[in-house]
Amino acid sequence: MPTAHSIQSIDFLTAFSESVLAYPIVLSIHLTCIALFGGMILATDLRLLGVAFKGLTITEVVTSLRAWKRIGGTIMIAMGLLLAASEAEKYAPNPFFWTKMIILGLIGVHALIFRPIVYNKTEELDRSPVIPTKAKVAAILSLVLWTSMVVMGRLIAYWD
């Protein structure tokens, strides 16, 4: 894979993957984001399912965590790309890595579909006497997609 080789040969990426400390620190930050940001996604999904935080409106849960999810998600993806790019030759043929990237793409599709009808319509959801099916579908798909992300991330290490 010439492309993969030239990516990981970029000076700072080579230095990064050869550093004893930089690689595990970035991986730790990646996982810390999964923990903090994952908890917020879980909270949002559980609220949409009507399982937790019933004392809070859906609007409150979605809007007060939105900025943090964006910040956390950005750091998480940046760190993840750094990890992958520094070992591009190892990642390029790895089917789990590409599955993970496809799931990441599906998370984007999920946002495109459900943002206009669920996440940006929270006041409508709050007014509804029962939580509409579309909100529950969005929450369940979100949980499935993010769980798959974690599983695929871990399985990347098991392919050789």
């Binding site: 004893v20 690689y23 595990p24 620190i25 991986l27 730790s28 996982l31 810390t32 999964i34 923990a35 903090l36 940001f37 994952g38 908890g39 917020m40 879980l42 909270a43 937790a52 935080f53 004392g55 809070l56 409106t57 409150e60 849960v61 007060s64 965590l65 943090w68 769980t147 974690v150 599983v151 991330g153 871990r154 399985l155 098991y158």
Partner: protein
């Protein structure tokens, strides 16, 4: 130790069980730490401000405890599968001390202050920051256990 051997055999003979245990471990700590962090974010006034920290704690506590059980069971399984490696690891014991501190702190100081009616704001914030610091340190400890042998 028969249990140790049995778990080691099961995990070593089928790589997928080890992978599964790792996935449970990661998924579990994401839920456990994430749910604790929601309380911390509230105590720091960074999110869910319409609700009290006490109420958020009540709503999340079951999730935290159940997830922590999954994390600990999978963690013990991972440990038993490679006892010799962990025994000589320099970081692993530090991770365990920090974990013990985080657990004790979470169910004593953190819980007490989160459920207080009107805690002084700086106390609340300090307690939340220490909580986040402890749990993030545990995550770092786990990764460094794998990297610095």
């Amino acid at each position: 130790m028969p249990l140790q051997n049995a778990v080691a055999d099961a995990l070593n003979n089928s790589e997928w069980v080890f992978a599964l245990a790792e996935c449970v471990h990661i998924g579990g700590f994401a839920v456990a730490i994430g749910s604790i962090a929601l309380v911390d974010f509230r105590m720091l006034n960074l999110g869910l401000r319409r609700e009290t920290a006490a109420r958020i704690l009540r709503d999340t506590e079951l999730w935290t405890v159940v997830a922590l059980l999954f994390v600990m069971f999978s963690g013990v399984a991972l440990f038993l599968s490679q006892v010799d490696i962990y025994r000589v690891n320099l970081i692993f014991p530090i991770k365990m001390y920090v974990l013990a501190a985080a657990l004790i702190y979470n169910f004593t100081v953190h819980r007490r202050v989160a459920t207080m009616e009107n805690p002084p704001p700086f106390v609340s914030k300090l307690v939340a920051m220490v909580s986040l610091l402890l749990w993030v340190s545990v995550v770092f400890g786990g990764i460094f256990t794998g990297f610095l042998v």
